[in-house]
């Protein structure tokens, strides 16, 4: 691993605090510090750099949500935690692709993290449903939904953007869109 990166590696508590405070710098440091470790794991176990990116980002998201969720306790090193999550995710991916030969070349020590990955993948399934529901919803509903509920734009802004003549029309339109979105979301299996 790169020595410079190691030297500037932030401490674990710095990272936790940084993520809680939405610090872009800390997120970047976290990301760049441990990526080489995961790249090494994936590349030497039948994967390529794109697999490494996918798996690593998934693990960072798991960690990020865990910290944001407030239930993160530092009872192991972050490094070990990230490695274990990636290892678990990669084993899962390998067996899905039938490429798992029953043996993985390890570079770090690791912990059992099955539960966290299970709850993470449950949430992923919800997000996938949401994504396809939004796709099916079509324009302009999709943008209205995103603008209002995700980006927290005001109805006034939305009115101007879509050229609605009065706010009531826009509101009615928004509720109709929400109705349809819910319907699409819950229809999916």
């Amino acid at each position: 691993m790169n020595k410079d990166l190691k030297a500037s590696a932030p401490t674990d508590s710095e990272i936790v605090l940084g993520i809680l405070n939405n610090s872009e710098i800390v997120l970047k440091k976290l990301y760049t510090t441990y990526f080489p470790m995961i790249l090494q794991l994936i590349i030497n176990n039948n994967g390529d750099e794109d697999d490494a990116k996918d798996i690593y980002q998934e693990a960072i998201i798991v960690l990020y949500n865990k910290i944001k969720g407030g239930d993160f306790e530092l009872n192991s090193k972050l490094k070990t935690y990230i490695y274990s999550v990636c290892r678990r995710l990669w084993l899962k991916r390998l067996s899905q692709m039938n490429r798992y030969g029953g043996d993985i070349r390890d570079f770090e020590e690791h912990l059992p993290v099955e539960e966290e990955i299970d709850s993470h993948s449950d949430r992923d399934i919800q997000f996938e449903k949401m994504e396809s529901a939004l796709q099916l919803l079509g324009e302009p509903c999709k943008t209205i939904m995103e603008d209002f509920y995700i980006k927290n734009r005001s109805m006034q802004e939305i009115c101007e953007r879509f050229g609605y003549t009065n706010a009531d029309n826009a509101k009615t339109q928004k509720y109709k869109c929400l109705q349809r979105l819910k319907k699409l979301f819950f229809q999916q299996k």
């Binding site: 760049t32 790249l39 030497n44 980002q57 919800q126 509920y149 979301f185």
Partner: protein, 366 residues
Amino acid sequence: MSDNQLTEFIERYLDGSMTAEERVQFELLRKNDAAVESKVTEHVKFIGLLKQYGERLELERRLNAIHDEIDVHALKEEVIIHPVWIVRMWRNHHSKISVAASVLIFAVLSVLIVTGKLSNERSKYEELSQKINSLKTEVGHIGAGGHPSLVKPKIVKTPPANFRGTGFALTSNGYLVTDYHVIKNADSVYVQNAAGESFHAKVIYTEPQYDLAILQINDPTFKNLGPVPYNLKKAESDLGENVYTWGYPGDNVVFSAGSLSSAAGYSNDTTEYQVSLPVNPGNSGGPLLDEKGNVIGIITARQTQMTGASFAKKSAYLLKTIQNIPTDSLSKTLNLNNKNTLAGLSRKQQLKKLKNYVFMVKVYNQ
């Protein structure tokens, strides 16, 4: 109240833009109407998920932006574990190595073919002792008539042999000859005559170089055989002579006839004859007789890819072997018969006389 109105109420309730009066009313509605209450929870959950989804997209975008700044290619070079030099060499040069190997194999094969080293003969020599894989089963006789308890079953038990060949008597007092490869590695040896009687026999001398072994029947139930009707021919026989053998490839004695086709055996082995005679595993050690009833050889092997090409050790080497037996390993005299009583008889009559002097050799080992 329409769905849209209800949703609007819920949203206003949630973002706190209701007047105090409206709020009280709405809370009352929630309490009293379960449908409204469930609408509220569902709405909260759904909007929460939508927002989380948005946050996830945003986080992914941020991570991607960070990722794009990393020089993945350089890192990859750094962390990849390079395989050992031999694997690397194979990966880089396998096409060249394959071509070189093919050329080499081709060259070796052509040299072998041109020099005749690859002719069929060498690998197709098969010794003729028979391996018996299937165990003979016990045969039980249970008396009929409904009184099984009174009638003791009579059990005829034939012990299973691991290996089988043929042997023939040299003298009337129980000296036999067979092939060395038949009794090689034997723990115990039994011989069985045409009547099905088995006798225990002892290997008293072996001559592996000629593939010959001398056995002696040392069973108390053995009775003198009577004068041996054939003699061993000392001189070499001529090509084209009609010959036959008599042996135990199966459970019954089998006769096969042919002619002497060469004075040298497999790979020009001058201690053997080549005979055109169908033999099978189990014939090993059987006598090869000429028309007059002289023993001119002992069946040893056959060539697998030529039907009817078999080999027999010349009788002269049997005589030599007999001479080589140390006198102290002979408990009885070994006087060879010089008188041939088969000469002049028809083949059928010869065989009748021979019958008692040719044995099945059964070999047991672990």
